[in-house]
Symmetry: C2
Subunit: 248 residues, 2 copies
Amino acid sequence: MRIKMRNIVLVIEYDGTNYHGWQIQKNVVTIQETITKAIKKITNEDVDLIGSSRTDAGVHALHQVANFKTCTNIPTSKIPNALNSVLPADIVIKDAFEADMDFHSRYSAKGKRYKYIIYNRRFSSPILKNYSWHISKSLDVEKMRESLKYLEGTHDFSAFKASGSSVKSPVRTVRDISLKKNGFNVEFEIEADGFLYNMVRIIVGTIVDVGLGKINPIDVKEILDSKNRCMAGKTAPPQGLFLTKIYY
Amino acid sequence: MRIKMRNIVLVIEYDGTNYHGWQIQKNVVTIQETITKAIKKITNEDVDLIGSSRTDAGVHALHQVANFKTCTNIPTSKIPNALNSVLPADIVIKDAFEADMDFHSRYSAKGKRYKYIIYNRRFSSPILKNYSWHISKSLDVEKMRESLKYLEGTHDFSAFKASGSSVKSPVRTVRDISLKKNGFNVEFEIEADGFLYNMVRIIVGTIVDVGLGKINPIDVKEILDSKNRCMAGKTAPPQGLFLTKIYY
């Protein structure tokens, strides 16, 4: 019997449609709760499952990372299949590995990457309705792309932070930001050392205003400099957002 | 007030996940029934809605065509928005136009095109679970592609026809057939003058057997020549199938 405690890291993919986000809350079903219960089923332990990102209700993940400490003697390589056998089909454990005891999914993260899908066609898509933001009016993708350069690099992103969030510093470094057209999809990708609360969705809401001609690309610089949330666009809806990578 | 009867053609997109297929049946919800009820809501008429293809439960459509005769005076260009306003989000009317009175969505069709998506990765995809067939074992896509040439052209496709279907002739002409890899997706496309019942799904089940090494590409020719359903592979599941085009 194994008595050494292990720190197990899970790589997780999920469809957030039917969940109230990652974080455990009362009276609603969440991803963290569902996986914690699955771990209990296979280990009989009540673990503290630490996620790298607290995704909101309706947001999806192609690569979420979470870790927990356990005394179980289940071999690490068997953990994904063991968990998948008790998890619903909209949550899949893609990988599991053992890390140093001081590894922490959130605090050890050195960067994150998100994708946001806008569906730009007169009529909405029945297939993509839970995986994109439908915008009927034609978007000027070139102008949207032009606005991205103002957001690249290290800035105070206060203008793109939802009120009510308590973080020490509003300064983040955007390492990569891009926009491409793929059929009716307009696909936005952003990578940074970290993100403020709702930062990706407020950036998307703002560049959509550029695409609709409500504001000019250069206005995005002014919004950033203002550090004023009221200057930026509305928060894009959650269902277009995908957490795609965590860097350590 | 308009008194001329019109023959209205609808172009429809739908997510088949929550429907028991196209065709009206007792005690279950179908696409045909849902659209017929929507037409009743906006016209107050009980129309006979004729679909080009009776898609099975769980099968999706990116381009289904259906027509109905009506005395309504709603302008044709306003019909999509009027119907979409009363339809659920998983059915969208993309277009409507007026046709000659003798146009019939099914009998007038000169060809159809389908796409089938296989998701080929060790773990299933939470996002694509209702839109693909998950196959864990690695598929040899090159060998699958090699087998397609035997299916191209005019043949008796009895071996790829579900039993119980009553059609006059089992001869069909496959005008285009292809397979490509797109990330974890293996995307099969087929166009023919028409299809026998479950023909696309039985072809996919058979070429997957080629991809898994259970049979050789040349065996597909033998299966075709046998005209025996028992020789072919199993019927691939419905959720990977998309009706993508009807030609007139």
